[in-house]
């Protein structure tokens, strides 16, 4: 708890005071954190190998996929360590050729799930729900070329809905969220919140 409190104090001082900025306190601190995070990566890797290794060893359901994961991860790890993250290397080739498109594909799947979600959940159940659905559809059409084709003012009204009423609600939520975050931070710094070090709040 003492370490938490001290670390929090250092971050606050580093963030707000000019002398700490000049001494690069936060940069140094952040570098330590990056190092700690990097050192922690093998922990995740070990967990991955343990879980999937157990699947392979006990021939559980889909153990072949676990074996594939272990083999691919190991090969990519070795290749990356040898070639490094430079353009034109094998690591870059795998990233550009597979990992990047795979990530974009999963991002694209959101379009499909949003459509099925709107069919399942957007209901005119109450007055508030009706306002919500109508506004959502209005903004949806405003954000696509359809709005401009139907009516020249659609985009302007859509912008107004986003910038005025939606903004007001958004600000209220964000204000509450950040204050909640502050309160949580103070609880952690004062040692009242201790779940992260293995004890429920006291």
């Amino acid at each position: 708890m003492l370490i938490t409190a001290l670390a929090g104090l250092v971050v606050v001082v580093g963030e707000y005071f000019q002398f700490a900025q000049n001494m690069n306190v936060l940069t140094t601190f952040n570098t330590w954190f990056q190092v700690a995070q990097t050192v922690a990566f093998p922990i995740g890797l070990i967990s991955l190998f343990l879980v999937h290794g157990a699947n392979v060893q006990r021939k559980r359901q889909r153990w072949v996929l676990s074996l594939l994961l272990i083999v691919v991860t190991s090969i990519y790890l070795v290749v990356s360590l040898i070639t490094g993250p430079r353009a034109g290397t094998a690591m870059d080739w795998v990233y550009q050729g597979y990992i990047s498109p795979a990530g974009s594909t999963l991002y694209g799947i959101i379009a499909f799930v949003i459509t099925s979600c709107t069919f399942r959940t957007f209901r005119f159940r109450s007055r508030e729900a009706t306002v919500l659905v109508v506004a959502a559809l209005f903004i949806l059409i405003a954000q696509s070329p359809l709005g401009g084709l139907l009516w020249s003012k659609w985009g302007t009204i859509g912008d107004w809905i986003v910038l005025v009423p939606s903004n007001a609600a958004s600000r209220a939520i964000v204000l509450g969220a950040y204050l909640g975050g502050f309160a949580t931070a103070i609880r952690v710094l004062l040692g009242i919140e201790r779940a992260h070090i293995g004890g429920m709040a006291k």
Binding site: L26, R123, S144, V162, L163
Partner: protein, 295 residues
């Protein structure tokens, strides 16, 4: 079971199949649709055109390959506007390792479009695109890890924060554009444009560089983040806000520089129509079966 009940039990994979048909149809048989300009997007154009000619623009591409369909077109059109206005671009970020690489490809594409000449040696420090060349008109300092503190360091001591080297490992002192830059602030730059896909992004650059460095900040975001960032734009903390591929498409149409932004717009339009139909169908099911349940 009547039609409404059967429709209510529809497997979502049928809906996905319809979306897939729409996407493939619009890719195989593209229909050109006009993308009208809205005031917010026009504001992004005014932002770039309002910066002093010949000055430097810092471009922070805080995005990963997952967001490239929306943000790559934005980087391209902003770069086209910047080069047409005579600005120099310095690319660098501190949150997403692949952002600068993705952005530089778009900056090169923009340079090729503006000069009308293909780039030689793309993706290297020797890239030349007609009159525009790496080191003179743009420099890529790459990803410098550290998020907020690094951004703050870049604002105060650019050479130290970037370790004095660019993305290719070459000294910044060797390029006419970057050799004298000491900070991402109003002394060396006239504007800061950030591409944001979540965190870190525009808000961090606003707090760590734009405010202390007294730089006007323009923000390009994915469409899902638009309402979140609208609060900062409405408050005047962002001087420009460009939202999604649609915003980029509107600028592409205005500049007559068709690209990825415009390419997806008819798909977006038909998908929007499908969503409206889905909402109507869902509510038809709801009201039809609600009566039966009540009975």
């Amino acid at each position: 079971m009547d039609f409404a009940q059967r429709l209510g039990k529809l497997d979502p994979r049928w809906i996905w199949a319809i979306v897939m048909v729409i996407v493939f149809a619009s890719v195989l048989a593209p229909v050109s649709v006009p993308v009208p300009m809205d005031p917010q997007t026009q504001g992004a154009i005014n932002y770039i055109n309002g910066l002093p000619k010949g000055s430097n623009l810092f471009l922070a591409p805080e995005y990963s390959p997952g967001s490239y369909p929306e943000l790559d077109p934005q980087v391209r059109v902003i770069s086209i506007l910047a080069f047409q206005h005579g600005l120099h671009i310095v690319i660098g970020d501190s949150g997403f390792a692949l952002g600068p690489q993705l952005a530089e490809a778009q900056v090169e594409a923009a340079a090729a479009f503006v000069t009308g000449k293909a780039c030689t040696n793309p993706g290297t420090p020797q890239t030349v695109c007609g009159d525009l060349k790496y080191g003179v008109n743009w420099v890529n300092v790459g990803y410098k890890q550290g998020n907020g503190p690094t951004e703050n360091n870049m604002e105060r001591n650019f050479q130290t924060a970037t370790q004095g080297v660019d993305f290719y490992g070459q000294p910044l002192s060797g390029y006419p554009l970057s050799k004298d830059i000491q900070g991402v602030n109003s002394k060396y730059f006239s504007g800061l444009w950030v591409e944001d896909t979540g965190s870190p992004g525009c808000q961090e650059w606003l707090a760590n560089a734009a405010i202390p460095g007294n730089l006007p900040l323009g923000c390009g975001v994915i469409i899902m983040e638009g309402p979140t960032h609208a609060t900062f734009y409405a408050a005047g903390q962002y001087k420009a806000l460009l939202v999604g591929a649609r915003g980029a498409g509107a600028i592409e149409e205005k500049l007559k520089a068709p690209g990825l932004g415009l390419a997806g717009q008819e798909t977006a339009m038909f998908a929007s129509i499908l969503i409206v139909i889905a909402v109507i169908a869902g509510n038809y099911v709801y009201f039809k079966t609600k009566g039966k349940k009540a009975a």
